[in-house]
Symmetry: C2
Subunit: 125 residues, 2 copies
């Protein structure tokens, strides 16, 4: 069970950042109308608004590099909390930006997961 | 409701790190037998083992400085997910260590909350 949770967390994280870096519009499929995003302190509710937020970020291309992924079963039946640290490379920026992000994943019909909670912060050292 | 969640998250975070920095043994009261901690990738289950882990950390005194606190209602009835970034000052260390930490808080009998999920990571820049 615990190993399963780690595997799901890692697979989700790989998938999520690959979409973010190569096909950002497709991220909307990972959220639902109840989903919540807090991005650098700004709150956004629902898959549609979250997708718009991502599309409006002031950079076209970016590359996420993952440092750590930790996952635990949440108390929600079948849910998983995932905590990621890593760095973000933006075009024309010499230094990568460190970031932290947490996801609360909930099982969806069809055996996959959607993101109920998503909180993202850049780390200014 | 949303403002309430922010207030609870902030109050919890203030209380948590004040206990950590001044009365670390008392942290055990914030966990339950089902609680899970992942500390720098090491998994610990249950209030007793989590408390032991904190007491065995290789520093007596420390001081947490909080940079950001984000909170959202979780899908668990009345639960709250909290995402913290900050820095940790250790005795004799010139530089503070940046860290990220997430908590999943669950309502307990008596109107307060306990920590169901806790994941902590230092950020190496």
């Amino acid at each position: 069970m615990e190993e399963q949770v780690e595997l799901v967390g890692r697979a989700f994280v790989d998938h999520y950042y690959q979409l973010f870096d190569t096909d950002r519009a497709a991220l909307s499929s990972l959220y639902q109308p109840t989903s919540m995003l807090t991005f650098e302190g700004q709150k956004v509710l629902g898959a549609h608004a979250i997708s718009e937020k991502f599309m409006q970020l002031p950079f076209d291309k970016c590359q996420h590099h993952i440092s750590t992924i930790d996952s635990q079963p949440s108390s929600t039946s079948g849910g998983i909390v995932v905590f990621v640290s890593g760095s973000l490379a933006l075009p024309g920026e010499e230094h990568q930006l460190r970031f932290g992000q947490m996801f609360h994943l909930i099982p969806s019909t069809g055996g996959s997961f959607f993101v109920q909670n998503d909180m993202f912060r850049l780390n200014y050292g």
